[in-house]
Symmetry: C2
Subunit: 209 residues, 2 copies
């Protein structure tokens, strides 16, 4: 009947990734970046996501080296943090989300900005060499870029995939225009989100599919 | 410059929802279901998601009444649970994810199925009148439907938006074919995911936009 389903998790993954590789335009990507794009597509169910992906040439190497070296992973929301599969991380890397920190609400009032943007302020001491993951909030990505231009220490790489209708596309264009500042991965346009963000981290963390 | 950004969270929400209502085909939806679809679109950045949404006629009323009555929210993954905004919940509703329960791994071996499907087995005692949210795993939705057909107590409603390339579309068709069993909301096709699932819950939980 229509409730008979494939129960073998590994086989489900194998068929999923085979379908993605058969349907998506992946010619622009190789190695860890290709695996990254495949897993991002897997997380959202849309093979044409590949067409909106842009990464700096050194992104994948910088991000994987940082993870292997034990870099912290700074996430804009708890949903991104929840989506990162801890057992895939190569160095038991710390996964950090400062959005719930009481100081973020206070800073938001002081700086007259959103709480997600204010939470970025609390990354200051941990950002050097970290992997930054913005999966939801355009305002967090804008705030990060402002601080990097002001001379903050540099993260190893930034995954910038905020989603939505106000500032998402603009913040990702702004990141992609700053390859002199930082290695980056973006999904241009309105699409993005925590699942795509976490999938990118999970792909970079381990070669296992 | 290109880093000037809108910093007023309420105004960002207002403009986002106005854009969605201007662009999406929402004529099929009204009241709490319309708010639900708007928020699902907000979570993924795609206004055409509306075209793939199907809900049973009693879905929104059943889901909102259940939440107000203190129903538990049963989630297939931690990412869905992390996306539910606790302060929007009308009755401090319990948010439950059994995927990390050690018994889920054991049951997966016994039943020769995925861990997400096995985790559904642990919903048995809490499912009556609950709001069920499947945001990731088609196998969890299949397993749930099998148990409901076998006579399990009925949840108040099921949000079925698993994502992906193997079983996602099929499991959602199977749910929509069972309106005699349970009130439902689905996004047909491959699209779905934890952000869309959590957004649907957040919309049903409170009228505040």
């Amino acid at each position: 009947g229509d409730l008979d389903y494939l129960r073998d998790g590994r086989e489900i993954y194998r068929r999923s990734f085979a379908t993605i590789r058969a349907e998506a335009r992946l010619e622009r990507f190789a190695g860890p970046l290709e695996r990254c794009v495949v897993r991002m597509i897997h997380a959202c169910g849309m093979v044409d996501l590949a067409d909106d992906v842009e990464a700096s040439p050194g992104f994948a190497a910088a991000a994987t080296a940082a993870l292997r070296g034990g870099a912290a992973i700074l996430c804009d929301t708890e949903m991104v943090a929840a989506g990162i599969t801890r057992r895939r991380l190569p160095a038991d890397n710390e996964v950090v989300c400062t959005l719930g920190d009481p100081r973020a609400a206070e800073l938001a009032r002081e700086l007259a900005t959103t709480r997600t943007a204010a939470a970025v302020e609390l990354w200051r001491e941990r950002i050097e060499g970290a992997l930054v993951v913005v999966g939801n909030a355009p305002t967090a990505l804008f705030q990060l870029l402002i601080r990097l231009e002001e001379g903050w220490p540099r993260p190893a790489a930034v995954i910038g995939v905020p989603v939505g209708f106000v500032g998402a596309a603009e913040s990702k264009r702004a990141l992609a225009a700053r390859r002199h500042l930082v290695e980056f991965l973006v999904v241009h346009g309105r699409r993005g989100g925590s699942a795509i963000a976490a999938a990118a981290v999970n792909a970079l963390a381990s070669e296992e599919e």
